[in-house]
C-alpha cells in the first residue's frame, strides 16, 4: 500500500546540491564522494613526497624524476564514504500528525542528502515488530528510501524512545541523526545520551515540537490524555496554569540542552509550524549542519 508522497515532487532536485557537513573523521572504508584527510586514490592531487624504500614504486612520478633525477612520489587525496545513521523516534508521542509528518520529511531529506552523495545511509526506528533496517549506499536508493519512510507504519511504540535509542543506533557512523520530540523524563535521556557518544563523534539531536506544545491554545476544563501512557490529567486552563506549563516545558528542554552540551551532542529544535524547506535551507545551513 503506497501512500502519497509527503514531499514536493522537485524536492530531491532542490536539495541535490547540499551535503552533510561534519568534522567527524570517522569514515567508512568504502570509496565515497567525500574527500578525506587521508591520502588515497582519488583524482585530486595533493602533493609530492620524496621516495623512501618501501613506498609503492607505482606511485613514483617519473616525469619529475626525468627533470630532477630524484624519486618523488605523487600523492592524491583519498575519497571515502560517509556513514550516516538516522534514528527516528516512533513512540506514540510522535503520532501527532504534523509532528510525524515533519519527522518523516526530515528523515527523507537527510537521507536523500546522504544517498545523493553516494554515502552510506542506515535508518532505524525502535519498534516492537522485527523490521529490516534500511542500510544502503548510493544515489540509486533515494527513491527506495523515500517510499520506505513514506510507508512507515504509524508509531505504535509504547516503550520510551530514550531507553531504546542506544540499541537502534549503528556503530561507527560519521553522523548520527536522532529525530525525536524529547518528551521523556530527564533521567531516561541522561542514560541514553551517556551511551550514544560511543557510536559516533557527531551526534545531532533534532527535537520536533508541535506548535500546540510550545504555546497551548487550550481553554476551559480539559481532560488531557497522554498518547503513550493513556494517563489522564484534568486541567482547568487558566493563564496561570498555562504560564506554569510554559515554565516547566522550558526547564525540561533547557536541561536537555545542557545534557547534550555535556556529551558534545548538537541539538536543534524544529517546530511543526515551520516549513520543511525553511528548516533545511535556513535552520540547518545556519547552524552548519549541511552545506
Amino acid at each position: 500500500m503506497s501512500k502519497p508522497f509527503i514531499l514536493p515532487e522537485d524536492w530531491s532536485a532542490k536539495i541535490g546540491r547540499l551535503q552533510i557537513a561534519t568534522k567527524s573523521r570517522l569514515r567508512g572504508h568504502h570509496k565515497g564522494s567525500h574527500r578525506s584527510m587521508r591520502f588515497g586514490s582519488s583524482l585530486d592531487f595533493s602533493d609530492f613526497r620524496e621516495y623512501h624504500p618501501g613506498d609503492d614504486v607505482r606511485q613514483i612520478d617519473w616525469n619529475v624524476f626525468a627533470r630532477t633525477d630524484k624519486y618523488f612520489i605523487k600523492r592524491f587525496l583519498d575519497e571515502q564514504e560517509m556513514r550516516v545513521h538516522i534514528l527516528l523516534d516512533s513512540t506514540k508521542s510522535m503520532l501527532e500528525e504534523k509532528k510525524w509528518l515533519l519527522a518523516r520529511q526530515l528523515t527523507i531529506s537527510l537521507g536523500q542528502l546522504v544517498l545523493g552523495k553516494d554515502d552510506r545511509l542506515s535508518f532505524a526506528t525502535p519498534s516492537d515488530e522485527k523490521m529490516v533496517p534500511f542500510r544502503r549506499k548510493g544515489a540509486m536508493y533515494r527513491k527506495a528510501f523515500t517510499s520506505y519512510i513514506t510507508n512507515l507504519n504509524e508509531p505504535i511504540n509504547h516503550s520510551s524512545f530514550a531507553s531504546q535509542a542506544a540499541r537502534y543506533s549503528a556503530k561507527d557512523c560519521t553522523v548520527l541523526f536522532i529525530i525525536t520530540d524529547g518528551l521523556e523524563p530527564m533521567e531516561e535521556w541522561e542514560k541514553a545520551l551517556r551511551l550514544l557518544p560511543r557510536f559516533s563523534q557527531d551526534i545531532r539531536l533534532i527535537l520536533v515540537q508541535s506548535t500546540e506544545e510550545v504555546a497551548p491554545q487550550f481553554a476551559g476544563d480539559l481532560q488531557l490524555i497522554d498518547r503513550e501512557t493513556q494517563s489522564r490529567v484534568n486541567v482547568s486552563v487558566s493563564s496561570r496554569v498555562v504560564e506554569e506549563y510554559e515554565q516547566k516545558r522550558q526547564k525540561h528542554f533547557m536541561e536537555l540542552d545542557a545534557l547534550c552540551r555535556r556529551y558534545g551532542i548538537h541539538t536543534m529544535k524544529v517546530e511543526t509550524k515551520d516549513d520543511i524547506s525553511q528548516i533545511l535551507f535556513h535552520q540547518m545551513i545556519r547552524s552548519n549542519w549541511i552545506n
Binding site: 501527532e96 523524563p185 490524555i225 497522554d226 498518547r227 494517563s231 506554569e244 516547566k248
Partner: protein, 589 residues
C-alpha cells in the same frame, strides 16, 4: 428564628435552576496530547489536596449557590426573637442620693443598680431610653437614646451626687416626659412606696428597684457646737437604726490643730438615739466627729462643724421707711420689725437696720445704718462712684440720684461717693453706713437697692471667712467678689484637692461630697462645709416591685430583630468573592 414572608419560598426555584444547570453542564473535554508530562507536574503543584482542588474547581458554583440561597432566605425575611424590655419608651430614674452608697453584699447599692442597668441595657433592643438622675434639679443624661454604647458609657459615668433624691419632684418631672406610648419607668432607688407613684396613666408601667435587704446603719444624727468664753461645747446625737445594740468609738477632732479632743466608746441601744454632750473643750475653728462603728453606710459616720458666728436674724427699725422692709422681703430674707425705742435692747446676734447713730457703738451685732438721727443733711449734686467692694457685686449704683447727704464719719472707710462727698461708709467692725435717708434718694426704686441690702446683710451676717453650711450640690447666690487678678473663685477640699471653680459673679454651687471646703481667690480664703441632709442619714429598705398594665403580663417581651441587613451584607460579600474567583480564572472560561 422565624420567617416573616414564608410565601417567598417559591424563589428557591432560582438556586435549584442553577444547581440543575451545573449538573448538566459540559464535563471535561477530552483532549489527547503528546505527553502530559508537564501538565502533570503543573497540576501536582496546584493539587494541594484533592478535596481542596475539588473546592477550587467548584468554587464559583458554591459561591453562587450560597449567594442565591441567602437571597431566598433574605426574601423570607428572617428574624431573631430576643427578649427585650417591655414598653416602647424606657425611662430610667437613677437615685444618686448619698444613701445609695450603703453597702450590701460587698458592693454599694449604687454599683448594684449600675450593674443591673448594664444588664438591662443589653435588652433594650433599640428602644429609646431616657436616663434621669435625681437631685434638687433632676438631670436628663440621655434623652431618647438608642445607641447602646452611648447608653453604657453614660451608665458607667454615673456618680453619686449625695444630695437627697427629692422623689416627688422627680416623679413630677418624669411624668412630664411621658408620651402617648407604652412607657416603662424604672426607678433605681432605695425605697419607694406604692402609694407615692402616680398611677393615673394606664400606659405607664412602674418598675421599682429597691434596696434588697436590711442595711445596718448607725449615724451621727446631729453634731453641733457652740463657742463661748469657757471654750467650745459640743452636742452629738447618735442614732442606731438597727435592731441590735451597737458599740463603737466616737472621736471629736479639732480641725485647726488636728488634735483629738474627745475619744469615747459609745453604746447605742437598738432603734434608739444616744445624746452626748461635751463641754469646755478647747476653743477651735472647727470640729469633726467621726464614729468608728460597724455598719453598712459609712457616709453619715462623719460630720464636721465650723465654729463661727452666723447671724440669722434681721431686725429693722420700725421708724425706717417701709421700703426697707419691703426690699428685704423681696429678697426672701425674713425680717423682724422692731420699734425704734427697743432697738437698743436687742441682745441676740442679729443684723440691725436702723437710723440711730448711737447703735454703732451700742449694738454688739453689725449695724446697717440708713440715715443719721443726730445730724442734718446737706444738699449734694453729682454722680455716684463706688469702690470695688463685695456689697456692690450685684448692685449697680450709677444711675441713682441722691438729693442730700448727712455728714460723714471721719474715721470710717468710704466705699461710695456722691461727687466727692462720702455716701456709703464701712466701720472697722463691718457696720455699713448709708449717709442718706430713703426719702433723700430714688435708690429704692432701682433694682440695685434690694440687691445691695441682700449683699450687705450677707456680708455682715457671716464672719468674713465663713460662708455657711450647704447641702450637697446646693446652689446659692453669694455676694463674693474675687480678687481682681484672679477673676474667679476656686473650691478646694479640706485635703487641698481642687474641686471646681466659680466665675466672679457666677452662682455658687456646693460640691457634692460632704466635708469641709475652702473657697480661694488669690489671698482671699473663705470656708464652708457641705453636710448631708437629714433624710440621707436614714436608710429605708425597699422592695423591688412592678406596677402597671403591662407588668401583669411580663417584664420582658419578645422582639423580632430582622436579619435581612446581615444577609444582604453576606450576599454582597459573596458576590465580591465570586467576582474575584471569576477574575482569577479569567473571564473567558
Amino acid at each position: 428564628m422565624g420567617f416573616g414572608q414564608l410565601a417567598f419560598l417559591w424563589t428557591a426555584i432560582i438556586p435549584i435552576t442553577v444547581l440543575l444547570y451545573y449538573f448538566f453542564r459540559k464535563k471535561y473535554t477530552e483532549k489527547t496530547i503528546s505527553s502530559t508530562m508537564f501538565w502533570e507536574t503543573v497540576m501536582k503543584e496546584t493539587k494541594v489536596s484533592p478535596y481542596l482542588q475539588y473546592l477550587q474547581r467548584n468554587a464559583l458554583l458554591y459561591l453562587q449557590m450560597i449567594a442565591l440561597l441567602l437571597l431566598v432566605l433574605t426574601l423570607l425575611q428572617p428574624y431573631f426573637r430576643s427578649k427585650a424590655i417591655a414598653g416602647e419608651h424606657i425611662i430610667w430614674v437613677v437615685d444618686t442620693s448619698a444613701t445609695m452608697l450603703a453597702v450590701s453584699d460587698g458592693q454599694t447599692i449604687f454599683e448594684r443598680h449600675k450593674k443591673e442597668m448594664m444588664g438591662l441595657s443589653e435588652q433594650l433592643a433599640g428602644k429609646p431610653l431616657t436616663l434621669l438622675t435625681t437631685g434638687e434639679e433632676p438631670t436628663i443624661l440621655l434623652r431618647d437614646e438608642t445607641n447602646v454604647t452611648r447608653i453604657q458609657s453614660a451608665i458607667d459615668n454615673l456618680e453619686v451626687g449625695y444630695e437627697q433624691e427629692h422623689l416627688t419632684k422627680m416623679l413630677d418631672f418624669t411624668e412630664s416626659l411621658f408620651k402617648d406610648k407604652e412607657t416603662a419607668v424604672y426607678i433605681f432607688t432605695d425605697h419607694v412606696e406604692r402609694s407615692e407613684l402616680p398611677l393615673e396613666n394606664d400606659s405607664i408601667t412602674w418598675f421599682v428597684k429597691g434596696t434588697p435587704e436590711q442595711i445596718d446603719n448607725v449615724s451621727i444624727q446631729r453634731f453641733g457646737a457652740t463657742q463661748s468664753k469657757k471654750g467650745a461645747a459640743v452636742l452629738v446625737q447618735l442614732s442606731n437604726d438597727t435592731g441590735s445594740e451597737k458599740q463603737g468609738q466616737l472621736e471629736v477632732r479639732s480641725l485647726t490643730s488636728k488634735e483629738v479632743l474627745v475619744n469615747e466608746p459609745v453604746i447605742i441601744p437598738a432603734n434608739d438615739t444616744l445624746d452626748l454632750s461635751f463641754k469646755d473643750l478647747p476653743a477651735t475653728g472647727g470640729l469633726k466627729a467621726t464614729l468608728q462603728i460597724e455598719d453598712d453606710y459609712t457616709v453619715d459616720n462623719e460630720s464636721a462643724v465650723l465654729l463661727q458666728q452666723q447671724t440669722a436674724q434681721t431686725f429693722v427699725d420700725g421708724s425706717l421707711h417701709q421700703l426697707v422692709t419691703a426690699a428685704f422681703q423681696a429678697m426672701d430674707i425674713p425680717v423682724s420689725s422692731v420699734p425704734a425705742e427697743q432697738v437698743g435692747y436687742l441682745t441676740e446676734d442679729a443684723v440691725v437696720v436702723t437710723n440711730q447713730t448711737s447703735q454703732l457703738s451700742l449694738s454688739k451685732s453689725p449695724v446697717l445704718l440708713i440715715g443719721r438721727n443726730d445730724e442734718n443733711a446737706k444738699e449734694v449734686n453729682g454722680v455716684i462712684t463706688t469702690e470695688r467692694d463685695d456689697v456692690f457685686a450685684y448692685a449697680e449704683m450709677k444711675d441713682i440720684f441722691v438729693s442730700s447727704l448727712y455728714p460723714s464719719f471721719a474715721e470710717y472707710e468710704t466705699i461710695a461717693w456722691v461727687d466727692d462727698e462720702p455716701f456709703i461708709q464701712r466701720s472697722q467692725r463691718g457696720d455699713l453706713i448709708v449717709l442718706a435717708d430713703i426719702q433723700m434718694t430714688d435708690w429704692p426704686l432701682h433694682p440695685s437697692f434690694p440687691l445691695f441690702l441682700w449683699s450687705a446683710r450677707e456680708q455682715m451676717s457671716a464672719a468674713s471667712d465663713y460662708i455657711g453650711t450647704f447641702a450637697p450640690n446646693e446652689r446659692k447666690s453669694l455676694s463674693l467678689v474675687a480678687e481682681e487678678t484672679e477673676g474667679e473663685w476656686e473650691i478646694f477640699s479640706d485635703s487641698g484637692e481642687y474641686v471646681s471653680s466659680l466665675q466672679n459673679g457666677g452662682q455658687f454651687s456646693a460640691p457634692s461630697r460632704p466635708g469641709l471646703y475652702v473657697l480661694k481667690s488669690g489671698k482671699l480664703e473663705k470656708h464652708f462645709s457641705v453636710t448631708l441632709e437629714q433624710q440621707e442619714k436614714k436608710i429605708e429598705e425597699g422592695t423591688t416591685f412592678a406596677i402597671g398594665t403591662s407588668s401583669q403580663e411580663s417584664v420582658q417581651e419578645t422582639v423580632e430583630t430582622t436579619l435581612v441587613p446581615w444577609f444582604l451584607l453576606l450576599i454582597v460579600l459573596l458576590l465580591l468573592a465570586e467576582w474575584e474567583v471569576q477574575r482569577r480564572r479569567g473571564f473567558t472560561n
